[in-house]
Amino acid sequence: MSTIQDFSGYNPTWCPGCGDWGIGIAIKQSLVQLGLSPSSVAVVFGIGCSGNMNDFLNAYAIHSLHGRAIPNAIGIKIANHKMPVIAIVGDGDCYGEGGNHLLHACRGNHDITIIVHDNGVYGLTTGQSAPTAQKGFKSKSTPSGILEMPINPLTLTITSGATFVAQSFAGDALHTISMIKAGIEHKGFSVINILQPCVTFNKINTYQYYLQRVYKLDENYQKNDFKTAVQKSLEINEEKFPLGVIYQTEKPSYTDQLPQLSEMTLIEKKRFTEFEKITKLFI
């Protein structure tokens, strides 16, 4: 049985009060509670304040390029589909630079878990606006207010084919733990959008801002109904933030559908040596 200590690497360098602290603890706690160890889980980190968790969390890991964590995670899963694979990314990383990968990973229902730190800004590059920033948000890169609409990550992923979409709030560690655990346990593509205040560069989306606008889905909420989920996901366009599993359904994952992986993983397989089967095609 592993402990929080086993997963703990360097001491984090995040700003005091940053939402990443809560998310970092929640991730480690989830892995411990799921009975995983740093040797039994693969984690891919994006680039950003969230990605800097690479040095703070012990695991078989890739600290990727900005935006590319998802395809790295897909590749690991294809090679070793028995290993849980998690991508820890930011909003700019996943919804901006890597947006195309997110869309297509949803379509493929790759059995990986995406944990998005959604704080509306690019913290590591000192506070430019991110794709989830509310329209009109003023930042160094948008001094007159951002002209674009914010991305709605929930609607986007639900309608693109993700089979597990949840939202949590960094200020509520217990809820975040339950969402991360449910996401990792889900067989298929899971996304957990975690609302996270950036205390240094985002003076709008503060703890107070979220505390006033988040609410938990009640027990009767039908998370497996697609239309209900889409409807619910649209609430964030009105700055109302439901917390919980917004959508969950069961579908075969990408690797489930590959007959060549039905018996064992790619790394476990023996070398193919019946070369005549290929050479005869060319005679």
């Binding site: 690497g9 360097y10 160890s37 740093p38 040797s39 039994s40 693969a42 891919v44 680039i47 800097n52 690479n54 040095d55 012990n58 695991a59 078989y60 890991a61 890739i62 600290h63 990727s64 390029l65 935006g67 590319r68 998802i70 395809p71 790295n72 995670a73 897909i74 590749g75 690991i76 899963k77 294809i78 090679a79 070793n80 290993m83 195309n100 990968h101 869309l103 297509h104 590959l258 007959p259 060549q260 992986l261 790619l266 790394i267 397989k269 070398r271 193919f272 070369f275 089967k277 290929i278 050479t279 060319f282 005679i283």
Partner: protein, 571 residues
């Protein structure tokens, strides 16, 4: 001695490609060697397709300047290719479709009437043309019938029999009306069993031999048939082929699977590779093995998608930001493609770096016959070397993924091994993988990565192949990659005129070993650089790496391959 060119042309979208490949296979099944080449526009319908097959008693990978049998499925074929006819050439066409005024040897086959009589689809004109060609060249009609049977096996007896009629009608038309014109060019003879492969097929086959388990690509001419080959075989061979959303996802998927421990490759052309280069650098610093196949076409940008050029050499050599080692290999023909592809996977594993295999449309899409015994022997002798890949570490206390070593190579642990963990870090890192910005560690890691090149040059770099005797030659050609067969033919033509030449053929392109290369350029001779691009890119690389400067250059960059004849003319 048999040595002739058969060319078939017609409108794009009507099966010219398949027809050409069938002709090539009939020739190899009849005991001959072939090299073929296709010209087609970047269109699915409406353009002009031409497929030529060079048939010979000997191993070849060049085209003839002349066409011996021209099969015209439309008038455009005749107009475009009549300049290559000789007084002996035969032209197959249907006089009901168009008229030829010139005084040439005309073989008219009633395509239109046969199609109408037998109620055939327009695409079956090809089948008639094949029957007629086999008749005209005294080929083995049974072999053609057998191939038609194999081709339509899944569609059932009726479809097979329906198609056979068209073969027979074409064959009979020749025997009935032109028995005097029949040439013995395709008479069946003894010959080794051969595979008919494109360069892309050879890359695919090399990858299977090397036990590649993940191939990721986004379709891009002229690399796409690697994707379609391997996708078709994946369940049989236990590989996973992913057609990802873009080339950035392509390379990052492969980096992920390679990190997890399986041999992985990607394939593309210049434009797709341009999207990948940030991740080439990523594979460089994380020291994740990766094989990258580039089938070049003329750029810049979309360029001329279905034509050929060796224009991406310097781009591939210098791809990726920052300083990190990589290896670039450029096969000269199918045999070298099989060898160097399989070697690329070993080098990627041994040196834990990106290894680029660069081809071009001429090599990638042309078929060349390869003796099966060559492939069998290669398979038997090929040894997989995964370098310092380990399943468990000798140092239980502290496994160091990026341990500073004398040869620059560190042990690479397969993720999942119990008791360990590590990160492959795109940031500069210390030996255990954690991020660093500290000066000493930075220097240690930069130097460690660079030492992998030194180790490669010492252990695995291969000096260029030399054809002919430089000491006895007046002219020494210097070239690389797919121009090999063309320069070899130019040497033959020169020899026939009494001129001795030598040829330095590079296929281990980068890095180059300065001392070993310098020793090849000591002769006081006329060195001639031959390249299928406008800058003489290999020449520049050679100057940069060794100081050697070749002033005399034969460069072609109109999208067409260089010909042996233009090399001779230049001299």
């Amino acid at each position: 001695m048999t040595d002739f060119t058969w060319l078939i042309g017609g409108e794009a979208g009507f099966g010219i490609m398949t027809t050409g490949t069938v002709f090539s296979k009939i020739a190899t099944r009849s005991g001959y060697h072939i090299f073929d080449y296709v010209e087609y526009p970047s269109l699915i319908r409406g353009g002009h397709n031409a497929y030529e097959v060079h048939v010979s008693d000997v191993d070849i990978s060049h085209l003839n300047p002349t066409v011996d049998v021209l099969v015209c499925l439309n008038k455009e074929t005749y107009d475009k290719h009549k300049d290559r006819l000789t007084p002996k050439s035969l032209v197959v066409f249907d006089q009901d479709e168009f008229e030829i005024k010139e005084d040439i040897k005309k073989i008219t086959v009633p395509f239109k009437k046969i199609l109408s009589d037998l109620k055939g689809q327009p695409v079956m004109k090809n089948t008639i043309a094949l029957g007629a060609s086999i008749g005209l060249l005294k080929g083995n009609i049974d072999e053609l019938i057998k191939m038609i049977t194999e081709q339509f096996a899944k569609k059932g007896e009726n479809v097979i029999n329906f198609n056979k009629q068209f073969v027979q009608a074409g064959f009979d038309a020749i025997n009935k009306n032109y028995s005097d014109s029949i040439l013995n060019y395709l008479l069946k003879k003894q010959g080794e069993e051969k595979l008919v492969l494109t360069g892309n097929d050879a890359f695919s086959l090399g990858s299977v031999i090397a036990d590649a388990r993940v191939y990721v690509a986004y379709p891009m001419t002229p690399s796409s048939t690697v994707l379609t080959d391997l996708a078709a075989w994946q369940e049989k061979i236990g590989m996973v082929v992913r057609h990802a959303e873009d080339e950035i996802s392509v390379i990052n998927t492969a980096i992920g699977s390679s990190f997890a421990g399986v041999r992985s490759a990607v394939g593309t052309s210049g434009g797709g590779f341009a999207l990948m280069v940030e991740s080439i650098s990523f594979a460089g610093i994380t020291e994740i093995p990766l094989v990258v196949f580039i089938a070049s076409r003329p750029g810049p940008a979309t360029g001329m998608p279905t034509w050929t050029e060796q224009g991406d050499l310097l781009f591939s050599v210098f791809s990726g930001h920052g300083e990190f080692p990589k290896i670039v290999l450029a096969p000269g023909d199918n045999e070298e493609m099989i060898e160097l592809t399989a070697k690329a996977y070993n080098l990627a594993d041994i040196y834990q770096m990106p290894v680029i295999v660069i081809s071009d449309m001429y090599l990638s899409e042309s078929h060349k016959s390869v003796e099966k015994s060559f492939v069998d022997k290669f398979i038997a002798e090929y040894k997989i070397s995964r370098g310092k890949l380990i399943k468990d570490s000798s140092n239980k206390q502290k496994y160091l993924r990026y341990k500073v070593t004398e040869d620059g190579i560190s042990e690479r642990l397969i993720p999942g091994a119990p008791g360990y963990f590590y990160q492959a870090n795109s940031y500069e890192h210390v030996e255990d993988g954690h991020t660093t910005e500290e000066a000493r560690s930075r220097i240690d890691q930069v130097d460690k990565r660079a030492r992998k090149w030194t180790t490669y040059l010492k252990n695995d770099f291969v000096t260029p192949k030399i054809y002919g005797d430089p000491e006895k030659s007046e002219i020494i050609f210097v070239s690389w990659g797919s121009t090999k067969g063309i320069v070899l033919q130019a040497q033959k033509l020169l020899k026939a005129k009494g001129t001795n030449s030598a040829f330095i053929h590079f296929n281990h392109i980068y890095p180059l070993d300065r001392e070993k290369i310098l020793s090849l350029f000591k002769q006081n001779k006329k060195y001639v650089l031959v390249e299928n691009n406008s800058w003489g890119q290999f020449g520049k690389l050679l100057t940069m790496e060794t100081g050697i400067e070749i002033k005399d250059k034969i460069l072609r960059y109109d999208g067409r391959p260089i010909t042996p004849e233009e090399i001779i003319k230049h001299l």
